[in-house]
Symmetry: C2
Subunit: 160 residues, 2 copies
DNA sequence: TTATTTAATGATAATAATTATCATTAAATA
DNA sequence: TATTTAATGATAATTATTATCATTAAATAA
């Protein structure tokens, strides 16, 4: 974890930026909530708990900077706010997302899965792919299981 | 074209909405600019040319309605505005996009390409896919060709 | 038809996310 | 130490979108 911070520090230095206390606090919040998809406001509130003097503008600026350096990815799930997602270290591409239209959960797919598709796109459309965004909208495994259980229950009642 | 409007009219009626003159004017603008990716404001300005009395709120409402009925898809390319895209008639899923990071062009891929990936996601993640968004970011064929031409030019100069 | 209810519209106010501004502070450098 | 530069925090400005509400159009009932 500390090493992760160190590596991010080096990435910043490499682009001649400093890891100021505010920036570090922001990065820590992102690391501590890696599985979430926080908005700038979300990050701001969490950072404030540990560094109450920080300003919202600084959080926006830091998130913008981290996006520029491809340390985080900015993503929009269509709810009117941008969300920020730590990129897996060394990942060539952004990971994929599963958005549940029933419960709102957002799950992640770290596997690439797109290698073949990208090969086709690069060749057939002569498009040099640098990154991508792939989001599936549908019903998550939790909701699916819940429905299956309900279904089973109903059948049992019917048999009585 | 007229038949396309008629079918949309029927879709609206099927959900007990009317195709009012304002709604029709909005749909026509979308049909006439099918290859574009217009924002609500863009649509508003274009509709105004033919139906100057229309209000911005009505355009927003119409676009929302059309999205609900899956006649258009709402998409966000990360530039802070929602864009509206007519769905291909009878298409199960939204088409894909190629966003050029050099010239800003947005091209479309109508082919599915994701069948295999979706089969994997449905099975391995027990996720019931209803729709998706897939956008590639990179360098478009026009910019690629331009670079190739420049490269060739430079080589020729060198040989002299 | 005319009266009445309902749906849709247009103008505009309100909201909310993001960006810009600017004075202040911290850090780096001379 | 003095000076330049980078970063910050407060807050104003901007902008896309949504909410409100009076008015109009359409559908329906009488
Ligand atoms: Mn994610
Ligand atoms: Mn499109
Ligand atoms: Zn769910
Ligand atoms: Zn291009």
């Amino acid at each position: 974890m500390e090493s992760r911070i160190d590596r991010i520090k080096k990435q910043l230095h490499g682009a001649s930026y400093k890891l100021t206390p505010q920036r570090e606090a922001t990065v820590r919040v992102l690391l501590e909530n890696e599985e979430d998809h926080l908005s700038a406001e979300d990050v701001y509130l969490l950072v404030k708990e540990k560094a109450p003097e920080i300003g919202l503008a600084t959080v926006y600026r830091t998130l913008e900077l981290l996006t520029e350096l491809k340390i985080v990815d900015k993503i929009n799930f269509g709810d009117g706010v941008s969300r920020y997602d730590l990129r897996q270290e060394g990942a060539a591409h952004f990971h994929h997302h599963l958005v549940c239209i029933e419960c709102g959960a957002v799950d992640e797919i770290q596997e690439d899965l797109l290698e073949d598709v990208e090969a086709v796109v690069e060749k057939r459309w002569n498009f040099q792919i640098k990154d991508h965004r792939l989001t599936f909208h549908g019903i998550c495994w939790r909701c699916n299981e819940k429905h299956a259980a309900e279904e089973k229950n109903k059948e049992e009642k019917n048999r009585e």
